[in-house]
Symmetry: C2
Subunit: 235 residues, 2 copies
């Protein structure tokens, strides 16, 4: 999923990407990462995904603090929750400080990232606007994600969560729309507040009912008739 093939998506900033890319190479603000490599971030810097996908994860230190004091929390100290994926052409930033640990991790091999100060964007006012529009879009998607996670039954949360992910990142393939990369059941579990075992069982149920599909190599997707009903986000 490279930039040049995704120009049909109006929510991603492309118009002057080539200029930005040139600038990034020239100023050594371009770096590629291997799968699951941590992407170092600093508050105040803006990051743009050029290729691949970036996984946002978090650690809930608040729960852990409570855990140490009162044994309420059951999570292992270093367990992290899956917060979302940023795909090519999209910006991200990590401005939150301790005790919340938000991190960005390369989700697939050959993930490339550009970084810059927000002030650097002043060179390209139009691009700056597009970046902010992209954050607006991500913001609306997050409201939908919160909506999905408000449901009581794990299987409902799971189905709504997968539907939103496929809608954002899915690619047409054979008989449906599929995510272009694998999500482990542990990662899904950490996103929807469930155990891995429950996620595996629920995915089985949803497959049996024909609501979701799994491609040979583990890619999750929705059948064509379901994805045809996918809503659009207006701007």
């Amino acid at each position: 999923m490279s930039l040049t093939t995704s120009t049909t998506d109006p929510t991603r900033p492309f118009l002057i990407w080539q200029k930005v890319l040139d600038w990034a190479h020239e100023h050594y603000r371009y770096r590629s990462f291997t799968k699951d490599e941590k992407i170092p971030t600093r508050p105040g810097l803006l990051y743009l995904v050029h290729q691949g996908a970036v996984r946002m994860v978090g650690e809930t230190q608040v729960g852990q603090k409570m855990g140490r004091r009162t044994s309420l929390a059951s999570q292992a100290p270093k367990e992290s929750s899956f917060l979302g994926l940023v795909s090519s052409g999209q910006p991200f930033e990590v401005v939150v400080q301790s005790p919340y640990l938000l991190q960005s991790i390369s989700h697939v091999d050959q993930t490339s990232v550009i970084w810059m100060y927000w002030e650097d964007l002043d060179i390209w006012p139009h691009f700056r606007r597009e970046v902010l529009e992209s954050f607006r879009y991500q913001h609306q998607r997050m409201l939908l994600r919160l909506n999905a996670l408000g449901q009581r039954r794990t299987i409902d949360r799971l189905y709504a969560f997968l539907t939103l992910l496929v809608q954002e990142h899915g690619e047409s393939r054979d008989d449906g729309y599929y995510l272009p990369w694998v999500l482990t059941h542990s990662q899904i579990a950490s996103a929807i507040g469930a155990t891995r075992v429950t996620v595996t069982r629920s995915i089985g149920k949803l497959r049996q009912r024909g609501l979701i599909r799994v491609h040979g190599d583990g890619l999750l997707g929705l059948p064509l008739e379901e994805s045809a009903k996918l809503p659009q986000t207006g701007t």
Copy 2:
């Protein structure tokens, strides 16, 4: 919580609020709402909360569709989930289309809202920037919320959820920081994917352990020693 008393929060746009207010009154783009009144919204319009607080809620039609077909969903058709609160000085917008129903509702009496087209903001480029910065801030807060909701135990989700809310909206009062308005246990339940009964029981447990406090009139808060440890969001 009026604008003039909140100018210490650098994440909210105030600098030329008076000009914007004058403009809104002049162009009849200002309206007040009573508690729990629906605030009509249209995609493409930007809304600013002047006084009071706005509750964002959503209905998960995806789950309902699945429910009709396969009886997986247990929610009543019109049940809505609590997505968050927008307090005075903050912007919001609702751009998402069917089948996701996002709505904004006046959370307290005398909630006042200004609305405008995004293009109207071109009159005040600096204000436009502040509005977008405010969305950036909200965006980061949402990542933290997703992080909170990724926890498996309801009581962990509840505590993390309340901590984040108090951190964003809390006001100093006697022995701690308290939310300036009441949240019902049903609203909390719909935000963290739990039942009202579980929320009520868990709030009782957290109170017993001294982790949260409840003011006489039902306001939730954190004791001073806990809120002193609250993290700050850098920019």
